[in-house]
Symmetry: C2
Subunit: 460 residues, 2 copies
């Protein structure tokens, strides 16, 4: 909270998506102070979630690819140096050092699409202290958001079950541009079929989908004319929006229109309902379509969808073939953040621990070992010292060594496969929407002994 | 929900913060279909919020500057055209037209920092139909988020009252980079003193603040050494973080250290507490500091702060001089989205109305007239036809005409002044945290008659 120097606005444009200046000021302040104090020894920081939200039975780790891109690409270029020099807060020595900044350290992480629980390290950075510190804010910003969204999307995917289609419609109420684009990625990883967000395709190769809005219907003098215009302009994979005025009447109009469209060689693929009691409308519309000989035409629903509604539709056998999910997905509206942290666990060869009330952390570099039963079902995790060798699969793997990527990161297709395998290995109660927080996560003997010995030694 | 063409990932890098391709696919699909149908007449769309969240008594309109930047800067450049051509979804005619895209229309809007309520148009776009449609998604994305955050921040500012300091500490859990940066802007507009988010300074001239993190203390062998190192490296506006191990003991250490710092010419400005029962710690720390002769040293609190906690601290006279607010601010965690829309209200000279259940909209281009009592207090709003002239202040003003800015947008300083004046004019109950939803917003006679006549005419 130290007062700011007078704001300096003359700096050239920063690329906020890539700049290492997208950070809290104190990361730079500490960078400076570490150098001043000669504290440049190796440090390890771990990112983890302190507590699962009551409405999440597990988390799906997500966002590593963007973290790697950020960490390996972090540079102080012209715009950054202009600000550092102009703002009068930093010594020439610090600025000169930042001008040469490259990440030289190591990163270990749980692969994207892995189920994780509270206290389990999801990612570890080991690097000279100032370097590892400097990355904190953006690293948390990237890992937090995609893990939040993937974990929310996972609930929807599990609630929808097989044979249903989920699409991300949430860009408009996502919190800014990057949130919209990364929510498309995170939900696709979790098992969504695609997104309406255009850049998801050129940036990530995610299938994008889209039909028509109410304004298209409203702009026409009559609804049938609107349907015809749209069908002729966009004959491929035609889906008509039928709730602008009266949903069932529009469904009747669709039945009347279908032969005409067929004669023009335009197959009707589906209709979308976006308001009212979606279940009731879907049932009525299904009947109208079926009686009109349109059994193959699918019904899509959107507007206020979340995992609870999806589960209800599935349980009641509502004839909805797919859901477009918006705000509840891209804002994780029932729980819009995770209680996560990036904490120093080791410095200069000594394990470190924060003991702040309610925020105490586990010291030392750690590994998580996950055990499975014979059917491949997860049964228990143990958080251990990195140096321990326990039974089970170690979750953290080397990602970066000495500033270089160890091996290419998996494709989205591979990550999606991993997620499906993770779903299959989940204990049954964790797959449901009801709170189930009894998955066993233990602390190893080695780690327990270390905590005890640090506690006995008292605080520095 | 039409199926995607095969993803094409070869496109050059999109700048997602500026590209008009940051949109839902259906905006492009409709653009194409409007051209195909020859529907290029003038259209008006209005952005408004359908319903206030139960925990918001008013909204603070925010984000217009970014919308203007987007609307006037929207271009389909190399990266955009490469994707449009490569993806195989659009006709050469549509692509050629997009290549020449410039916004040629009008924008009217409520100035940033204005109090608004449900159904009141906050912004209107009037332009050829395909053009006005194309802007929808990003425009909503920008206006929604900043209005959401400014409205949340306003509650904190009003709860804190005079003489206290509020800072945005929320970048790490904001939903991505843009959310972090724009939350700094929106909260500053609402009355925060500044932000920890560095780019807020070079981009917007917002004061940025920062001290030290727990890791700085943890990396040292003892806490006093950490305080000393930090003080010497960053002697200006020194604030020490005192809750890494034992808050009160750290406060004692601060008292012991202060004479030494003073002898070195380093004034201690404050301490920060970030965990535990903040009120209890603040009281104890205040006593320790006062007894140690450090009456001038201020106490800052952070960690899990929201407006309810601020109000409690103020009500109980807790000796906290300022709060650093993180997640609750930048995610608007109690209500992470607004039920907002951008709806067609007029096309080709005819008012338009959507009647979907629970989502019906008010037709025609509108104006909001706000009346004040003699003391300058807001007493009632009327939503009217644009053509009506009623008593009161018209809230929407011309911003863009024929694709050109009417006059320069106000500075942040001016917007902040406007916000303070708005707070003074708020009816007392709306200033509190308790729900107060009885501020009168009426519909004018002219608008009522139009709605009736459209209803009688029936749906198209």
């Amino acid at each position: 909270m130290s007062a700011a120097a007078s704001p300096c606005t003359a700096a050239p444009m920063l690329d906020i998506l890539r700049t290492p200046l997208l950070t809290d000021l104190y990361e730079l302040t500490m960078y400076d102070a570490y150098l001043e104090a000669g504290m440049v020894g190796p440090a390890s920081f771990e990112f983890f979630v302190r507590k699962l939200p009551p409405c999440r039975n597990f988390l799906l780790a997500c966002g590593l690819a963007q973290v790697v891109e950020f960490v390996l690409g972090a540079r102080f270029g012209e715009a950054e140096l202009a600000w550092l020099e102009g703002c009068g807060r930093f010594s020439p020595r610090t600025i000169a050092r930042l001008a040469r900044f490259r990440f030289t350290g190591d990163v270990d992480a749980v692969p994207e699409g892995t189920v994780v629980f509270a206290h389990e390290p999801i990612l570890r950075v080991t690097a000279p202290l100032p370097e590892a510190q400097l990355l904190e804010t953006r690293l948390v910003n990237l890992l937090h958001f995609q893990t939040l969204i993937a974990s929310k999307a996972a609930r929807m995917v599990l609630a929808a079950g097989e044979g249903k289609m989920l699409l991300d419609f949430g860009l408009r109420r996502a919190h800014g541009a990057e949130a919209g684009v990364l929510a498309a990625r995170a939900s696709y990883i979790a098992g969504f079929a695609g997104s309406a967000t255009v850049p998801a395709e050129p940036l990530f190769g995610i299938p994008v989908y889209g039909t028509m809005a109410h304004s298209f219907v409203q702009a026409h003098e009559d609804e049938i004319q609107a349907f015809l215009h749209f069908a002729r302009a966009r004959p491929q994979s035609l889906v008509l929006l039928i709730d602008t005025y009266d949903t069932e009447r529009a469904a009747q109009r669709v039945v009347e229109l279908a032969p005409k469209l067929a004669a023009e060689g335009i197959p009707l693929r589906g209709v979308r309902i976006d308001s009212g009691d979606l279940a009731e409308h879907a049932r009525k519309v299904r009947r109208i379509l079926d009686e009109g000989g349109l059994r193959e035409v699918r019904i899509f629903a959107s507007g206020g969808i979340d995992e609870q509604l999806i589960a209800r539709h599935v349980a009641e056998g509502v004839p909805i073939d797919g859901w477009g999910v918006g705000t509840s997905l891209t804002t994780s509206n029932d729980w819009a953040s995770l209680d996560c942290a990036y904490k120093l666990v080791d410095y200069a060869g000594k394990p470190r621990r924060k003991r702040s009330e309610g925020k105490a952390t586990l010291p030392a570099r750690k590994q998580v070992f996950r055990r499975f039963d014979r059917s491949g079902r997860m049964v228990a995790d143990t958080i251990a010292l990195e140096s321990e060798r326990l039974a089970g699969e170690p979750l953290l793997v080397p990602v970066i060594r000495g500033g270089e990527l160890v091996s290419p990161l998996p494709s989205l297709a591979r990550i999606r496969e991993r997620v499906q395998a993770q779903y299959r290995s989940l204990p049954e109660p964790l797959k449901g929407l009801e709170p189930a927080h009894d998955y066993p996560v233990d602390i190893s003997q080695g780690l327990s002994r270390l905590v005890q010995s640090l506690d006995q030694a008292g605080d520095p």
